[in-house]
Amino acid sequence: MMKQLLFIGFTLFSAAFVNAQDCEAIVRNCETLLNKDTKGSQFISDGQVYTAFLDREKAEFKTTFFGGSTYRIAASAGANEDYVIFTIKDLQGNILFSNKNYKNAPYWDFKVNQTLPVTIQTELDLDLKVTGCVVMMIGFKK
């Protein structure tokens, strides 16, 4: 019985490790997207890795885009580039952008002339993937 428990414990640990590695691979995908096809100077990471394990859920967070910068949002949930839908809303709830209108593009740039507090909503495109690790990164440049 003890051996059984140990074995099950080991396999559960292994599975969790496999999942963590999956998530780590997605982080690397997202890093590549953060500076894919950049013209001129590179995007500087805001120093954070936004990770969520979504199971038919939506993750939402608030951030501020400061005036005078161009931002890039990159998102990944696996090898295919179109798993993630991200939507940007202003604080009045107006939808300013959704990559859903652009074939779930994995990254998009935003020119910000005046500062803008926003809400960013992230979800998996449920037609393509129902559950899994979603990683988002935000970069900026002058």
């Binding site: 059984q4 496999v18 780590e24 590179q42 939506k58 501020t64 740039d109 998996l124 899994g132």
Partner: protein, 297 residues
């Protein structure tokens, strides 16, 4: 015995399959429950409570440099104090502070000061077990590129991103939260100090624009408040929020313009941030007191 092992083996394989399936890439053949399509479904909730976004301290430093304000090393935290930060709590907060100081020095191409603050960052990251992100390769690349501010800023931002990822994976989100908080506090402190020395409407506006970021920081510290260790800092920041609440935001929506070929959207809204100079002074006084309580060790 054979049967026992086979059963255990099968349970193990089943466990792996079950857990791995939770994270595997889906396919178009996925059968999706009707409930998923219901926007009011209780399934549409957030994972792990919340996600937080704290602005990079480098952004405020960029603005400061754009305004041609001269470099002032005297406002930075004394590097000699690095050895006084003993607890993980103090080390994490002050890593954020020194990291911002390093970014400020690097942006102004201050080689000597940059290397000094690089050393403090190296010491604290070692103590916090973040050697993987701030390893010898990072240190040597930083030193080699210390004449090139663009490269050093990129290297530094990437190293802080790596450490954020490492801490989140290692379930040390409270440490990550403290580093981000320290970084934010120092960037606003530097902005306040420079505004006091030479009043600048742009700097003042940028400070006022931090209203939402302050709320995110308070939420972040509340979420990862191990045994109430953040209680004092949260109370101080809540008091600071009372001053930020006096700042008026006048926002007017305008439809953004999108160019799908260049994958670029331009935001066309207007935002006017206004507040009295007395509120500015109140913010500076409160923020300085918070920063003193963090840096005194």
């Amino acid at each position: 015995m054979k049967t026992k092992i086979s059963t255990t083996f099968l349970i193990g394989i089943f466990s792996i399959s079950l857990l791995s399936s939770c994270n595997s890439g889906g396919s178009e053949e996925n059968k999706i429950d009707e409930e998923v399509f219901d926007p009011n479904s209780s399934l549409n909730t957030m994972f792990d409570g919340k996600i937080f976004s704290i602005p990079s301290p480098v952004q405020t430093a960029f603005l400061i440099k754009q305004l041609n304000l001269s470099f002032d090393e005297t406002i930075l935290n004394d590097d000699a104090k690095v050895g006084e930060y003993i607890t993980e709590y103090n080390q994490a907060l002050n890593l954020g502070i020194y990291g911002t100081d390093l970014g400020y020095c690097a942006l102004y191409n201050q080689k000597k000061a940059s290397l000094k603050y690089l050393s403090t960052v190296e010491k604290l990251t070692t103590q916090l077990g973040l050697d993987a992100a701030f390893d010898t390769s990072f240190i040597s690349r930083f030193e080699k590129n210390s004449d090139n501010e663009d490269s050093t800023i990129l290297l530094m931002a990437d190293a802080f991103k790596e450490s954020d990822n490492f801490l989140k994976n290692a379930n040390r989100k409270s440490t990550s939260a403290l580093i981000l908080t320290g970084g934010w506090i120092e960037s606003i402190y530097i902005a306040c100090e420079l505004h006091t020395k030479k009043a600048s409407p742009e700097i003042k506006t940028r400070i006022g624009e931090q209203k939402q970021s302050l709320s995110s920081i308070i939420d972040l510290l509340n979420t990862y408040n191990k045994s109430g260790s953040n209680d004092k800092l949260i109370a101080q920041l809540e008091d600071l929020r009372l001053s930020f609440d006096k700042i008026d935001f006048q926002y007017e929506y305008a439809a953004p313009e999108t160019d799908k070929d260049s994958k670029l959207t331009v935001f066309n809204h207007t935002l006017v941030v206004s507040f009295e100079e007395t509120v500015m002074k109140e913010i500076k006084t409160k923020l300085t007191a918070i920063r003193v309580s963090i840096t005194k060790a």
